[in-house]
Symmetry: D3
Subunit: 149 residues, 6 copies
């Protein structure tokens, strides 16, 4: 793993997903200094496609990805799917198994490797709760997906 | 999700997995104040059973679980498996797919819910890298599993 | 496995799922003698969430679980999911793959282990048919999930 | 589901897997009367391939399948795999996830459908325990696979 | 693998899926000479059940399978499911993960093995694109399922 | 899907996997004309890691990927894994489920999209047989994985 903790793109994404627009200000400053882009958001749903759509929309609107270029959307999509695995832990399904999720998410795009040729990577982090559609009958869940972009 | 951030057992476990014995001292104090138990460790392997074994051994030695009681080991085991899903994101396999993982882990046991009847829960967090068995050809991965105990 | 066959909670659950309210009377007497609780039901659906809901509702109504306590519902939920794996054998999906299931189910709650510290466990058994949404184009399927509670 | 309970090939297979050579004598008589073939066996392993091999060997030796004909072995193999799903409930893996299984199995071959054109089918049932490689730290598991042959 | 390339049922099915009614005429002649049956079709959907249904309907209408016989439909269904795995590569889901597929399919039924006892087998091939519900944001995918019938 | 058939990277990869160094010469000429790179190979194994390794080694030796750059190896690795899904159709496992595979593979790297910004993509195709470790007890299988690189 990179010695330089500030370049740990996955860890950074998780810390952003733990907070909201007001939190982790020093981390955000560091990301800005590195020239990395990021965004944060929130989504609650019983349907995974709504979660995927919310993250994609946020990434496009905040300019993290170029929505005219399929290769960027392809990289993002697979990072989202991988993050979803951590949330669902076995069956990539929510409502169909009578459960729901309330999540904060973050997306970070940057260059985590020292070698220039490694180029840009994207990290998607999810943090929140998953459980029955009954208030309070839920526990925390987390997911992280990383892909080259 | 609990308003009281200090009782977010999953978030706490992740933060512990991000650090080592010397880190997150204020968090550790808070856990101690709550009367919760926790431990941290490190494991690198191409075989998932070694990762499972390392976490189980640590939990037993540090007294997080009572290793004479199957129900405690059963709760821990399923929390570990769920955390592994976040690391492997699709195929619960490492060496068999020619990849390896280097992980920090943490286990936290406590009462995340305000209602006394909810009793104790256990969280297992994993953080590190996964990738080819080639130095540096790896990216970060994270996993969290939570179970009632 | 326990020498004492009457305490085999999974086997008991399966035998109950094979029958209805009128069947397995001697087994039911034995369960009553042990102080274990159980219930039986029936559900047919192309949507897994309906099957999950039917089992949860039955367990709550018959008092097998305390529906005010999340840890009990969490234990039950995971036992149901595990039982569903035996029914679906690979893809945890019904209608989405154009198939339907007609099932009898049973839930048994008791102490299968001799050691007092092992406490209570819950078993969910499913038995019925799975197949195309065409009468008779189906074969049998079975599933069993067991969890500490 | 067939009205005629004696022709429920899956239920019959499960009942045989619950017992040994000495048990379920009246069921065995009924199977004989129907002209169906069956066998029973026992296998304990941390490796799934050993379980698959034990069932295949038993089926060949007892003449349940013709081991010179691939289509028969193909039908049996998929029935075994489906039964294994019920045992492993999510990850088709034992030792690689640090767990072991001790199982009784049965294979039944017969004609469960009234219509002659439906021909022969094969059912593989598994029943036993799965758990940590520690005596007693295990719970029951069951699996059933059915295929046309 | 069979030396006789013309009897490679899977390869033949793929080549048919690559083309339409007008293509692969020499292959079709060879299949006719062998006495094998086949059909081709096209389906686009965000729901897997529509894809399964389209293939089943085509197989029934073109007389590739006898739709009155469950064992034939069972063989076809599992061949379809196996082919779908190649298309979805991990999560057997389309719209639920916000993706869609546009596919050509083919079904071939014949005797790929020299030994008479091996009887008939069925191959289902899928070829097309999978991707976001945005024109052009898609890449190719392929799937093949083979079963004894 | 691209109107221009010659740019269908997945179809091209499959056709290459169907043949050997001597076959598909006109296709190879077209690929050369497009400036795309490709390679072919052969691997038989009961262990998936050997299959992954054989494909990676071939891609490195033939210069299809730059083995000093992790992002290229990462793109290739995920394309291989996706192709393996088509071969294994459900459980990403061979020997652990007592089966073996004999495969031809091909890798194609090129620009399948007309838009320059879409850049390079990589396709991995697998074609061969999967079955019991008994000569002739096997049927065909196919897999295709595509990724941006």
């Amino acid at each position: 793993m990179l010695e330089d903790v500030s370049r740990r793109i996955g860890r950074n994404a998780i810390l952003l997903a733990f907070t909201n627009e007001e939190g982790e200000l020093s981390l955000k400053k560091e990301l800005a200094k590195l020239g990395w882009s990021y965004c944060q958001g929130k989504v609650g749903a019983m349907e995974l496609q709504k979660i995927v759509a919310a993250i994609e929309t946020s990434a496009k609107r905040q300019g993290i990805v170029n929505h005219d270029v399929y290769r960027e959307m392809h990289a993002l999509y697979h990072a989202i799917l991988e993050a979803v695995h951590g949330i669902t832990r076995g069956q990539v399904e929510l409502g169909g198994l009578l459960r729901t999720a309330g999540l904060r998410f973050s997306i970070v795009r940057g260059k985590p490797y020292e070698k220039e040729a490694e180029g840009e990577w994207i990290a998607v982090a999810l943090y929140g709760t998953i459980g029955a559609p009954v208030r309070g009958f839920e526990h925390e869940a987390i997911g992280l997906g990383i892909n080259h972009i």
